[in-house]
Amino acid sequence: MGNILEVENLNIQFRLDEKYYTAVQDVSFSIREGETLGLVGESGCGKSVTSLSIMRLLQPPTQISGQIRYKGKNLLDLPEKQMRSIRGNEISMIFQEPMTSLNPVHRIGTQISESLILHKDLSGKQARQETIRLLQSVGIPRPEQIVDEFPHQLSGGMRQRVMIAIAMACKPQLLIADEPTTALDVTIQAQILDLMRKVARENRTSILLITHDLGVVAEMCDRVAVMYAGRIVEEGPVRQIFRNPQHPYTQGLLASLPKVDGPRTRLQPIEGNVPSLKNMPQGCRFAPRCRRAMDVCRQRDADFHLVEDAHRVRCWLHAE
C-alpha cells in the first residue's frame, strides 16, 4: 500500500500586526491508502490550519513552505486550475459546523449535484438521480423530497449527513474531516461516526480526522499524530499511543481525562495554559508545563526519536 498523502516540513506563518508568527512548524506526516490518521490537539495547536493548507484554502499574507505531496505531486506548486480539479473531487472536506458550511439559499440537491456536474460531467438529470442515491446512502429518509428542501429545514445531524454526501459525491481518495461531530449530541455523533466508517470502507477512502476528542480517535483511527503549539510531538499506531504514550504531553492528556468506568480518583491535570502564538516559549514548547523538563528542554527543541516500530516522539527524555 502506497502513501496517498505525504506532508513534509510544513511551515505556516500568520501575519499579525506587521509581524510573522509561526503557527505550524516542521510538520511531517503521511497517510496510506485506506488509512485513517487522527490529528489530535487542543485549540490553537495548528491542526485545522494544517488541514486548510492541504486544500490550499489559506490566502496570503499567510506564508506556507514545505511540501504537500498528493500521489507524488506537490500541491503547493500546482496552478489554481489544476488544484480546482482535485479539490472536492479527489480530496474533499467536512467541517465542524454543519449550520454554517451549507449555503442557506440553495436547495440541498443543488449543493450536492454541483460537484457532480463540475467534476463528473453528469447532465442535470443524471446528477439529480445520483444525488438522491447519495442522500439515501448517508441515511437520509425521504431523499426524493429532501433533495428539494433547504438546509434550515433539516436538523444538525441531518445537515452533517448532507455534508458527508457532498464530500463523498465524487468518491474522493482522501477525506479531511475537521471536528466532524463536535457540534453534535452523543447519540447523533455515534450515527455519524458509524456512517463515516461505512462510506470510507465502501470507497476505500483515506481519512485525515482532526479532533480534540481522544475517545473519537481511539474509535476511528489507525494511526495518531499528537500536536502541541504548532508541532507534532508524538506519532504512532493508535494502540501504542494509548497503551504506551511517551511524550509527557500525550501522557498528561490521557491522564487528565475523567473515566466512564473504574474507581473515581482525583484528576491529574496538566498545569498551566496553552501558549499563545505571540508568546511561544523557547526550546520545547511544552517545557514550561512539563514536570520532567530539564535545562536542555528550555534551550533547544528535541528531534524525533524512534520508540518502537513506527512510533516516534519529539522529546529530550528519549535522546541518548
Binding site: S155, D185, K259, R266
Partner: protein, 323 residues
C-alpha cells in the same frame, strides 16, 4: 448530610409559541415538563441530557431567572416560587449560577475587581471599598489566580482563567447552592481537569452544594454523587453516579452511555445506535417521549407516560419495561 437543601416538585416551564398579527398563542414548547428531585446539603447532583432536553431551562427556572410555569422550589424549606421580587433578590445570595461560555459571561468593560465587587455591592456586603477589594484578592487566590489580576480585563485571560473568574464571582456572596451550567464544555481537555479539581476542592472547603449540568457523561460521572437523566423535558432515570454507569436501567440511558466514545482502542462494547433525531419539544411524542427512538418500545409506550418508580433501592426510572 441527610438534610435537604433544595426540593423541586413538579417543575414545569412552557414557552408559548405565538403566531400571526395578533401574536395568538398557538401552542407551547414544553422545555421542562414535570421535574421533581431533592438535593442534600453538600451533595452534587449531575443533570445530563442532549440538546433540547431542558437541562439549562431547568437550572434557570430553579433560580427564577426565567419564571417557571408551575411547580414548587423549596430552598431550605421555603417555596421560593412564591417570593416577591425583593425577597427573591435577597434569596439569590444563597444560590448562584456559573455559565458555560467564559467569553460571553464576563463584561469586557469591567475590570476583574469590578466584576467580582458588583455582586457584593448589590447584596450590600462588606462595608467599604477597601474591604471589598481585599475580599476580591482573597477570592482570586482561592480560585488559583494571582491577586494582582484584579486590575486586569477579561480579554487578557485564557478560557480556563475566565472560568475561574466566573467561579470566583459566584463565590463572592458566599452562596450555599451553585448551579453549574456546562462549566467545562468550552475548555481544552488539559484545562478542564484543572477546573474540575478546583470545583471539588471548593465544595469540600466551603460545604457547597452543586447542581452540575452537562452533556459530557464522563465528566458528570466524575463529579456527581447522583445523576438525573433528562429527555425532552422529562425525567428518565435518577440514581447514584457509579450505579448509573454500572447498571443503567432506562433504554435511553443505555443508548446514551453506549454512544460515548471511550479513549481506549481495545474497548469492546456493544453500541446501541439510536435511529432518527430528537423530536421537537414543541411537538413531543405522546406517551413516553422516548418511544419514537426506543429499541424496545411497546404499544403502551405510545399511549401512556410511564410512572416514576423506585425499581431498585434509590434507583428511580420512568419506563414501562419495569411496570
Amino acid at each position: 448530610m441527610a438534610e435537604a437543601l433544595l426540593q423541586v416538585e413538579d417543575l414545569k416551564k412552557y414557552f408559548p409559541i405565538r403566531r400571526g398579527v395578533f401574536q395568538r398563542t398557538v401552542g407551547h414548547v414544553r422545555a421542562v415538563d414535570g421535574i421533581s428531585f431533592t438535593v442534600q446539603k453538600g451533595e452534587t447532583l449531575g443533570v445530563v441530557g442532549e440538546s433540547g432536553c431542558g437541562k439549562s431551562t431547568m437550572g434557570r427556572s430553579i433560580l427564577r431567572l426565567i419564571e417557571p410555569t408551575s411547580g414548587v422550589v423549596n430552598f431550605e424549606g421555603r417555596n421560593i416560587v412564591r417570593l416577591r421580587k425583593g425577597q427573591m433578590q435577597a434569596m439569590r445570595r444563597q444560590m448562584q449560577l456559573v455559565f458555560q461560555d467564559p467569553y460571553a459571561s464576563l463584561n469586557p468593560r469591567f475590570s476583574i475587581a469590578q466584576t467580582l465587587m458588583e455582586p457584593m455591592i448589590i447584596h450590600n456586603l462588606y462595608g467599604s471599598r477597601e474591604e471589598r477589594l481585599d475580599r476580591v484578592r482573597r477570592l482570586l487566590e482561592r480560585v488559583g489566580l494571582d491577586a494582582d489580576y484584579a486590575r486586569r480585563y477579561p480579554h487578557e485571560f485564557s478560557g480556563g482563567q475566565r472560568q475561574r473568574i466566573g467561579i470566583a464571582r459566584a463565590l463572592a456572596v458566599d452562596p450555599k447552592l451553585i448551579i453549574l451550567d456546562e462549566p467545562v464544555a468550552a475548555l481544552d481537555v488539559s484545562v478542564q481537569s484543572q477546573v474540575l479539581n478546583l470545583l471539588e476542592d471548593l465544595q469540600e472547603e466551603l460545604g457547597l452544594t452543586y447542581i452540575f449540568i452537562a452533556h459530557d457523561l464522563s465528566v458528570v460521572r466524575h463529579i456527581s454523587d447522583r445523576i438525573l437523566v433528562l429527555y425532552l423535558g422529562r425525567m428518565m432515570e435518577l440514581v447514584e453516579a457509579e450505579e448509573l454507569f454500572a447498571d443503567p436501567l432506562h433504554p435511553y440511558t443505555q443508548a446514551l452511555l453506549s454512544a460515548v466514545p471511550v479513549p481506549d482502542p481495545d474497548a469492546k462494547r456493544e453500541r446501541i445506535i439510536l435511529q432518527g433525531d430528537l423530536p421537537s419539544p414543541a411537538n413531543p411524542p405522546s406517551g413516553c417521549p422516548f418511544h419514537t427512538r426506543c429499541p424496545v418500545a411497546k404499544p403502551v409506550c405510545r399511549e401512556r407516560a410511564p410512572q416514576w418508580k423506585e425499581i431498585k433501592p434509590k434507583h428511580y426510572v420512568a419506563c414501562h419495561a419495569y411496570a
